[in-house]
């Protein structure tokens, strides 16, 4: 599995947990940042297979980052999953509108995320 996964996440705990579960599942997180602008730039430049975004980032929301990546890549580009620590599911609708491929809640065991990642890669 040589899928390139980027994570844009400001919470170090969440980042550690996500990296660990993804690597256990066989995915390599090749880049991570807490900075939204850098995340956008990297994602557009390096065209990873998947970008995992947090909804609340310093300076921007995950939705905005998502939108900027999509714009930067001219509509195509990496798969994007937006994760949220909130339980307010309004975001699910918003995420899809902003061009995200999936949306899931953050949990301590990363189960929704892993499921979403698997589904995205199995879809191709």
């Amino acid at each position: 599995m040589d899928k390139k996964i980027f994570i844009v996440e400001d919470n170090q705990d969440d980042l550690i947990i996500a990296k660990r579960y993804l690597s256990h599942a066989g995915y390599a997180v090749v880049f991570s940042t807490a900075d939204a602008a850098e995340g956008v730039r990297k994602a557009v430049e390096e065209k990873p297979d998947l970008v995992i975004l947090d909804t609340l980032l310093p300076g921007a929301t995950g939705f905005e980052v998502c939108q900027q990546i999509r714009q930067g890549c001219g509509g195509l580009g990496p798969k994007i999953i937006i994760t949220t620590g909130s339980i307010d599911a309004v975001d699910a609708v918003k995420a899809r509108k902003m061009g995200a491929d999936d949306y899931c809640a953050k949990t301590s065991d990363c189960a929704p995320l892993l499921e979403a990642v698997k589904r995205i890669f199995s879809e191709g």
Binding site: G85, K106, S108, C110
Partner: protein
Amino acid sequence: MENFKNFKITTKFIIWFLFISLFPLGIATVVSYKSSRMVLEEEVKNSLLAVTDSKANQVEGFFQKTKNDAINLSLTPEVIDAAEKFTNAIQSYGLRSPEYNVLAQKFIPMFSYYQKLSGYNDIIFISLDGEVIFSANNSKRNESLYEAVLNNRKSELAETFIKAKASGEMEISNVERHSESNEGVIFIVSPIFKQTNCIGFVAFEISNRGIYEFVQDYSNLGNTGEAVIVAKIKEEAVYITPLRFDPDAAFKKKIKINSREGREIEKALRGVKGSGISTDYRGQKVLAVWRSLPTYRLCMIVKIDTKEVFAAAKKLRNVLLKVSLLLIVIIVIIAFSLARSISSPIKNLTQISKIISDGELSARVKIDTKDEIGELAVSFNQMTDKLVEAKANVEKKNEEVEEQKRLLEESNKELDNFVYTVSHDLRAPLRGIDGLVKFIEEDYADKLDSQGKDYLKKIRTGANRMKQLIDDLLALSRISRIKNPYEEADMNELVQSVIGRIEFDIEKHNVELRVASDLPVVRCDKIKIQEVFLNLINNAVKFSSKNKVVPPRVEVGYNDTPEAHEFYVRDNGIGIDKKYHKEVFGIFKRLHTQEEYEGTGAGLSIVKRIIDDHKGSIWIDSEPGKGAAFYFTIPKKLPEKKKLGQILLDDGVVSEEELKNALEKQDIKEV
């Protein structure tokens, strides 16, 4: 009368004024005209009567005098002597004998004198056998009166002679028209006696010309009055004197006695005196007085045109009519201006009220007077002021409401943000704790003793518990924040969908679930009532499954009450002590130790809040050890709520339905 009500004030005033003024005036006019007519008629009648009597006396006097003269003359010795001599001369010598002529010549001067003295036309001697033996004028000489009668020649003289001969007394003839002079003549025939022997007759021919001067005297008779003398000749009434309007009428004009014009003549000829309105020979209406002139069987009518009689009354009436006409004009003008003075401020008021009702609230009525209309205008203006004030108040209130709405929306949005932030920020450290402790458990399992592992487990349990509390809190805030419009919901379908969602738990705990088959269709917030059933059934499943004595059983039922739909969810669990029946609906009320029951008390708080929102009620029927039944009602008549069922977001509107779907998706992922 119905129409009168709808007339304009001006019209009403004019009608009333005219009625009030003209009605008495009209009566006064009629009464005064009638009474003046009556007075005039009476006065003129009296004057006519006086004229009639005076003229009748004159005429009668004239005829009486001629009659008396005739009588006297017939008794004079000269007349007796003349009669005797003429008779003898005729008998002895014949009519045309010189002896007779000598005799005639001898007497003519004397009779001419008598003739002149008494105004006779002629003095005639008639023999016993009806021969005219002398005529002062020579007019009748040689006539034989018997012959005239025998030959049926109309001759009053002959008829009167025969009468006088039969009666042996003086007789007076009817009026006869003189064939040459066209005058009326009357004959008085008187027997001449010598001692006691009738030796002949003397006849005086009297002209009626003598009475012309009486008739033609029109003094006291105005312009149209006249006296008319009529004789009855055969069945006709003959005017024997000239008429005022027909000077040649004497003996030419005649009318039928039984005709309309002849009625009064007929009465007068019968000797009935009278007066009244009648029609004269010209067909004119006249006021007439009639009486008879008995001596010569004549009648006299004195009359005057009613036109002249009533001219004064008519003049009075015309004056009154002119006054009325003038009054009408004046009254119409007064009524019009008076009505205008009342109606124009009212019109003004109406106009202003129209302007105001069209929304121009600054308009005010101009107040010129202090009468009732002025007062009306004042209070109208006051009312308008109040209206402006009230409108301003309403607008202010509306603004306040708008402001509050805006604030509410703002605070709603703030709450959204707050919930979002809280859920994000509070849950993040808990995820870290749980996730990292799990890593310790995984990575350092061989370095930890059981005590350490237990501590770590307790840390993770605490963190999860904390996460659950936060989630419940947020769920509760979301429930009270979001309102949906009421809709008809089939409770059978609704309960079945709830059961579908917790099927796993029901099977896991082997719960016997009974649902009443005939649940109604209820108007409610469908999504929230679903939440109610979910929580209640879920609780019931949990509680009943903790009862280790009997197999768990849950029942969903329904009672129809007049005011509300009543549902209940009953379990056969351990039951709830009465003292906790109110407390269970408080948030995070734990009635049982965590070991026995999962979750927190937020579920029942949510249920109570939803039922409260529906203005329904919720209560528990339970005793420890006897299971518990949760009852709730939904009123049949729900107050319609404002449409706040959708919440506004930055980039669009999301309905509760979409939210729900999203939540469900999330739930699945969380498992």
